[in-house]
Amino acid sequence: MGYRLQRLPTARSGISLAARAGAILAALLLAALVLAASGADPLALAAEVYDSTFGSSFGLEDLGLLVTPLILTGLSVAVALKIGAWNIGAEGQFYAGAFAATAVGLFVPLPEPLMLPLMALAGMAGGMAWILVPTLARAYAGVSELITTLLLNFVAILLVYYVATGPWLDRKTNALAATARVPYEMPEFWGIVHWGFPLSILLALAVALVMNRTTWGYEVRIGGSNPSAAAYAGMPVRRHIIAVMLLSGAIAGLAGMFELAGTVHRLQGGISNNFGYLGIMVAVLARGSAIGVLAGAVLMGVILNSGIILQTQGLNTSTVLAITGLILFFTAIGDELAHYRLVRTEQATA
């Protein structure tokens, strides 16, 4: 009698869900061990994190504020993946969206009810503008969007630093390295959580609907999975690449606008909190599924929130980053292991 592992071509969904839960648990356990070894009391820390996050409505509201941009940046990356493109530039498009929304909010004199919709449009346009060149380069010249979107991040980040500390610097207070306060704010939805939160969830649901339940979404999925098959069936792959990548940029830009008008209210360097890069993790955790992005964003939000709480307990940010990395690492292992099953051999072959 012996036992052996056997690999299956597809993992059953129940098992892969269990593998993910196990992976997250294993990552947290390992982190707890390391914390215990360095003299902290992991149980007390965990209790503190739990209480501060889920024990009060304040904690949940904080979580909601973190989850909102993560849903959108995760969705931005996941959408691009549908057509087979890696949008590493959600970070830059986030900045570009916040920048464009600020420009409108500070300098366009229009009646107040028009301002928020206009800022949202400007945010989306900013995100689209930021991904336009990588999109065209990919669609017409086959240039890898991975590199181009990534590099444009630095341009956007530096541009925002420049305007926030230079031409648009708030001269009145002069204390902040930020622009003046944008006078238009996203209305509150629940506590301090603004309407961006439900809108982001709706957007994720809408994207899932479009991708899975429309012929356009079908063409995008085929084109993303195998461009030659799409060409074979006469689908306009190039047009879809352009449309989907621009949509991806628009969603990331909208995230920037929400963050500005809902949470920060002033354009400043570092406004993105790395949400654009974290969106890549969210999309990977969600395996490119728009619905999965919701769960991935909540998980990432909890980790970020825990990080903020742990910092008040004297842990530094690298610890939190390390835990994030551990979770991703273990999830990848769990996903692979979900393909295996244990079989019993009737005869020892040796």
Partner: protein, 532 residues
Amino acid sequence: MDAMPQIPARPAAGPGAPPLVLLRGIAKYFPGVVANQDVDLEVRPGEIHALLGENGAGKSTLMNILTGIYQPDAGEIIIEGYGKSFASPVEAIAAGIGMVHQHFKLVQAFTVAENIHLGWAETPRRIRAAALEARTAELADKFNLAVRPGARVGELSTGEQQRVEILRVLARQAKVLILDEPTAVLTPSEARELFRALRTFAAGGNAVIFISHKLDEVLEISDRVSVLRGGRKVTTLPTAECSEASLARLMVGHEIVLSDLRGRGPDAAPVSAEPVLRLSGVSLADELGTPLLSDISLEVRAGEILGIAGVAGNGQKELSQVLTGIRAPSAGAIELGGAPVLRAGAEAFARFGVGHIPEDRLHSGLAPALSVADNAVIREYKRPPVSRGPWYRPGAAAALARSIAGTAEVSVPDFSMPIRNLSGGNQQRLVARREMRIAHKVLVAAYPSRGLDVGAINTMMRYFVELRDAGAGVILISEELEELLNLSDRIAVLFHGRLMGTIPADKADVEQIGLMMGGQRLAAPARVLEEA
């Protein structure tokens, strides 16, 4: 075969010598599939043992077990009288069992000598390239396999690459050489050369296991044949007692007749007077201006099968792309149903009723990572019931997929699983059935039988006859002359992107087509005959 002084001296096996390989009661199960069950196989020294079976009969699984890629769920592997268990191919080759796979596992950027010595315990730790090449030349000489040690593998022809693979296995002192469909990639003369090398190798007291589903080859090369069907071994016979018909019967379980399918039943649609698809003076060039197709004029009528013969790589792929609207010609005109096509486009062609079985289905006809259902509706997703207006209906897509799988006689356990999980033969059947649904006017089939076994090929041929009799024009691009002669009403020959002429199949002889495949234009009288 007389004395072979260069063969490694190994005593010729006497009658009492144990078999080189003995498999007993081998079983291998995959989820929902019995890949092998109760398989016994004996391979004797000095023999070439053919392993014959349809796609999915369990040949590859069995050989993967023998070479340590898989471990059996039951049964024993006995090598020269000793029970063994291989945890990896490295252990199998150490025991003298090496395999040359259908897809070569060579490093393209390395030289032949480097590839031979890669990952080999006997390779010296530090050695100059010249010495490495000298060693390789010595090995090549010893095993009588002509290779150029200094050449980069990427620059070699497929036949030469195969020789490198074989030499790599033999250099590791293999006593049993397993070849998976070795001639699929070879020209006839390369195949003859390979056969000679195999006989020499076997004559030295070694053995060859030859996996194939080409019956004529098996009859030509092997000493004994083992037939697998549905994961079990049907029988092992001396080749001398077999014929193509008897082997085919054993393989599929019933008699197969590959023969004249040109005859029409009383209900068959007549051949139309007007062509349903016509190319006049069509040329195609790549971005650099290199001509791929030159001045091609051909027509196919409703209710007939037009065969396109030619050695692969003479413009077949490009021609099928032009015929189905995927690529627009750079010169010349296309007519569909008598009307000129002004703007080419695969979608417009499909809407007119042109179906297309592409030559590499997984790479151009399917989205491997998407579900069986999504792949089944790639031609009909824009029409009800699969969609209503802009809305795509996954339920209706799955229902259509189920019906296509039904007519294709493919059992799919789960229509939401990625289509790459299906076997190549099953993918091909699904694609064929999917395309036949839209091919009301024309079906362009490129190498439809490639990689299929006799049973599946016959099914495929019946599909084409069915379609022809229903009044569609079929363009069959193939390199199997027998298949073309059996099916086609007319045969056109493609050479270097040009048509060498078109001849009626009943007036054609293999010899003449062979000359045309080699670049000789059809002589004038025959052309008159065609137009008469």
